[in-house]
Symmetry: C2
Subunit: 341 residues, 2 copies
């Protein structure tokens, strides 16, 4: 990246004009960072080819603050979409990348975000193939919003669909809940703990690929509980499949400090947004084996079986609480934590 000249500058409307300033920013920051044959066409589009079915997913990222403990909006925008594509039972390959920048953003910050996009893309094994940069006037945006759209090759053994879920299926999460949401929230509220709560934003596509290779169609669903948290995702699934979901509170993997932060802020971790976390709903027969495989992977070392699918209370999520009773888990209604992704 030839960015020394940008060191003390900010983004201005000219960078979104489509003229020389835009081209200059693209050449020096974007094309030089993402250097690959597809993006190097420098056209408004890119040409790709898939032999398989293609999973497509799009997400806009509007998180505030844009830099947070454990990450920034750039890597989040890659990981979020990479994971959504993986959740379709696919191997993510390509991403498009579109920025809406507020005039006045420090060029240094913009460059840092672009570099994080590149690093996260490399880690996930995806290429940035086409993009767009728009600039809006000061006060008409909030520093930077990023849209990514991801494309992946559907795994030949994948059969991911709510329709395949059966009574008795086990629900497995790969890691601790509520970490991302509470990292952002603690940062916004200025909370301090013995050690810092860091966002666990990361890609899970390599782990997902291992699971698909090993268990194929025995995996009935992947889903990542981002906005709305576990409660909302499981409630949606319960309604879709017309069966019940039973959770066991004591089995939910929640880090002590995160639980403490939730308590201080009066938040239920089941509703807090996650990143780098996904649930697998799998055939009972392979649940233990899958759990064992997951725990060997760095992104699954805290994997836990948190519940199962039941014929009781169709369309409802019920949780056996720590002190023995059972309570209904409703989906989130309004907004608990705005702009968490």
């Amino acid at each position: 990246m030839e960015t020394s000249e940008f060191n003390n500058s900010t983004i201005n409307l000219g960078h979104g004009s489509g003229g020389i300033m835009t081209r200059d920013l693209l050449d020096k920051v974007i094309f030089s960072t993402f250097d690959n044959p597809l993006i190097n066409q420098k056209h408004d589009g890119a040409i790709i080819k898939f032999e398989t079915e293609i999973a497509v997913s799009t997400d806009s990222f509007v998180i505030s603050p844009i830099f947070f403990k454990g990450g920034n909006i750039g890597e989040l925008a890659v990981n979020g979409t990479v994971n959504d594509v993986a959740m379709c039972g696919a191997v993510p390959k390509y991403l498009s990348l579109a920025f809406i920048v507020e005039e006045g953003l420090e060029m240094k910050e913009f460059i840092k975000i672009v570099e994080s996009v590149k690093e996260a893309a490399d880690k996930s094994g995806v290429q940035i193939i086409t993009g767009d940069t728009k600039v809006v006037e000061r006060g008409k945006g909030d520093k930077i919003f990023i849209n990514t759209t991801g494309f992946g090759a559907v795994h030949p053994k994948a059969k991911i669909a709510t329709g395949n879920i059966k009574i008795g299926d086990k629900i497995i999460v790969n890691g601790n809940l509520a970490q991302h949401g509470m990292a952002i929230m603690s940062e916004r509220e200025g909370l301090e703990f013995e050690s810092t709560i860091e966002s666990d934003t990361t890609n899970v596509n390599h782990l997902v690929l291992e699971l698909l290779d090993a268990f194929g169609e025995k995996i009935h669903l992947f889903r990542d509980p981002t906005r709305g948290g576990m409660a909302s995702v499981l409630s949606e699934i319960a309604v879709d499949i017309d069966m019940g979901v039973k959770l066991v509170e004591n089995d939910l993997p929640i880090e002590k400090q995160v639980a403490a932060a939730c308590e201080i802020l009066g938040l239920d971790p089941l509703y807090v947004a996650n990143e780098g976390v996904f649930i697998s709903i799998v055939d009972e027969s392979i649940a233990d084996e899958l759990l064992a495989l997951m725990r060997k992977h760095p992104k699954g070392k805290n994997a836990t079986c948190v519940g199962h699918i039941t014929a009781e209370h169709p369309k409802k999520v019920v949780m056996k609480s720590g002190i023995g009773g059972a309570r209904m888990v409703s989906p989130l209604i309004g907004e608990q934590l705005p702009r968490i992704c």
Copy 2:
């Protein structure tokens, strides 16, 4: 669309929460409007299949005002990306659709935009297959931003690449220049003319398909001169191909009122953003025939040959002016008209 209950409401942060309010908005406005088997999966992603190479293009739309004479941001977001995919020599098939909405947007306006997206998608023959809706706090956005990413099947006869352009190639535009930019500008400045200047935002993919069917690899390049206008696009091409571009001012198709508006505002129409306009750079041997075919199509009836590729002045665009002289046409540097798309 079951939207009566929304009639007097506005978008609020809960609509972006991922909880029940989000689901409600999606079910009643989005899924009911775009009803098709792919989006109906209601998953975070969609599965598609292409036998051919795929052209992919992404764009965020941040135009202000969001409603303007001749269109609104919804149809612009469809046409813009559909046309970018067509410019790759492809037949657009699918779009993803991502909204960033500012809290407080009138629900009526949101619904009107969604309906325009649907209408424009139908006219272009593309399906909306997956999407995302985020809401940001009042003052952190500007009513609504839309990202669309488009996918098209590359035409079997298409060979679109700057590398194919040769000395003598003709440059043909399908219609009048500067109309979209001046419609937005007149609206912002409150200018009034004998009749209204309307944006010509429209899809051109059906016309492009006819041209590819008829002339295949004799068409060397398509490009749509949106941000930065004709001057910027042709300057970029001249640099890329290391040849010269010669334009003839008297041949540029510009509507009288648009020319007048440009003069009043001190704008050069060559730099004004277009929509529904594209240039074709084609082999000399088919130029007349292509022009004739274009003029039979409603979206090409004002088609004109505006210049050619020359060995003189490599990397430069030179225009023979109306009064006989010649002037260099530089690319746009900073910003002439912010947020025109």
